[in-house]
Amino acid sequence: MLAALGALALLVAVTVGSVSMSLTELWMAVAGRGDPLFGELVFSLRLPRAMAAFATGGLLALAGALMQVLLRNPLADPYVLGISGGAAVGALASMLLGLGTAMVSGSAFAGALLSTLLVFGLAQGRGSWTPTRLLLTGVVIAAGWGAVITFMLSLSPADRLPGMLYWLMGDLSYARSPWLAWLVLIPVLIVTLPLGRSLNVLARGPLQAAALGVAVKPLAWLVYGLASLLTAVAVTTAGSVGFVGLIVPHMLRLVLGNDQRIILPASVMAGGALLTIADTLARTLMAPEQLPVGVITALLGVPTFLFLLYRSR
């Protein structure tokens, strides 16, 4: 059902826009006949953007679902843990220096990885890390990045500010190549699927998991590494889109229960669908103005989440 929802979201995203088209026109364009304008529109503008939105949403939701299990804390998500803060600092720094788009993506990726190493390295301390310690380290480092971001924004010339703000709120209008995101998303999903039951056991605490035959340390490192990679790629593709990683897995847990074998693939589908719909709204609601997609995910996600939480047992 979620897969159908995802496909539907993609379809809507491709047909709706400043030039609307009917399903027949879409079919003609896909088949290579009909108005060449539509073909151009679909294949070089809307489809890549919708695919990028879907992959980014999937990456963020999967990263959030993994981190929540790893830290056994419902608050965990790539943004709370400071990974996206590091990415934002990297991206803004290269924007401030006036570097090109490729450099912005590259330094966002570097910033995300740096932040990951920083959080995990410091949380390790002299003993082994505990979830609370990791979460606290992440929150404090995220706050630190926040200060650096504000500092950089106050330094930047007025003509660069809008671009920077859009990046901070998450923006897919520069996401022209969805391939990196898909190339990471699909293999990671395939790797995590057989880990589902082990993750179910890990959610009951490391000692209980070890007693039930899970090699806890390697699994924890693998999950943390994968979640960081997912976040870094998502942030590189679309800037820092908030809420998807936190809200989507929770909404699914409230509805579907807590079996990771179901939650992980469902998170990819629902996260992808949510971000695709949000991005379609972002570029059509106030057309020809484009809104940052992060605003829409928050506006859609917050009331839905609160409703589900209120209704749950």
């Binding site: 056994r72 039951r197 056991v201 009951r204 209980q208 039930l212 035959g213």
Partner: protein, 254 residues
């Protein structure tokens, strides 16, 4: 059937000088009870025997193989641990929780089969949890959660039980029910090793006792030779009176 063996094992308790090495074989059919005051290191001893923390020196062997040589999965197929503390951060039903006892026996892609479900149902019946099977564990009382933990271990069908205070939070009826269950497990060839607070439960249900003193000193042997009032008084630093009920010793403070 499997044999757990401690060989010159010294439990690693931070900030404590090396205790006395522990060398013993826990054989199929035996029921061991560990007695000691709070903080003597009973749980740490149990976790060390389960391979969940390394001993300061010496080693623990399962069927002659050092635990560090075994994969956790192989170990979990023979040995189950009932913990004193449990974390339920995410909601799960009683049935789901009991069913994870099958985890060590399933390959990554395999889903639980009908026979796994049957084992889980039998375990829930054995601990009278059947009516609670769809309840969320987080909504249960302390004693009910304790029974869920024991049912999970039972689903694991272990040859060796390591149980940390298995009667914690249980009412009198369920204390006896759990002890009878562990007794039956031992009769069917399992080895049972448990930490207990209740001297009288230990006297009634264990055939071997290990007394663990706070300074790391320990002594162990068949239950009837260990139930010496003077030794127990020194263990708990508490005067004891001994009575006889139905031919078995009963200890009360005072």
């Amino acid at each position: 059937m499997a044999i757990l063996e401690a060989s010159n094992m010294v439990v690693d308790i931070p900030g404590r000088a090396a205790g006395q090495p522990f060398t013993a074989r826990i054989l199929p059919g035996q029921r061991w009870g560990v007695l000691g005051p709070n903080g003597a290191g009973k749980s740490t001893l149990l976790h060390t025997l389960a391979g969940l923390r390394p001993p300061r020196s010496g080693q623990v062997l399962l069927d002659g193989e050092c635990l560090t040589q075994l994969r956790r999965r192989q170990l979990a197929q023979k040995l189950a641990v009932v913990f004193q503390e449990r974390q339920d951060s995410f909601p799960a039903t009683v049935q789901e929780t009991v069913l994870i006892g099958r985890h060590p026996f399933l390959s990554p892609w395999q889903r639980e089969s009908g026979s796994d479900l049957r084992l889980a149902n039998q375990a829930m019946d054995a601990l009278s949890l059947r009516l609670l099977s769809d309840r969320l564990v987080s909504t249960l009382s302390g004693g009910e959660r304790q029974r869920v933990a024991i049912a999970t271990a039972l689903t694991q069908q272990p040859a060796i039980w390591l149980a940390d205070e298995p009667t914690n939070h249980l009412d009198l009826h369920h204390q006896v029910a759990v002890m009878e269950l562990l007794h039956r497990q031992a009769e069917q060839g399992a080895a049972v090793f448990m930490c207990l607070h209740d001297l009288n439960l230990a006297a009634r249900w264990c055939d071997h006792l290990l007394l663990l003193y706070p300074d790391g000193e320990l002594c162990f042997g068949p239950a009837d030779t260990m139930l010496v009032p003077e030794a127990l008084e020194r263990l708990y630093d508490q005067k004891l009176s001994v009575g006889q009920i139905n031919g078995a010793p009963v200890f009360v403070p005072g």
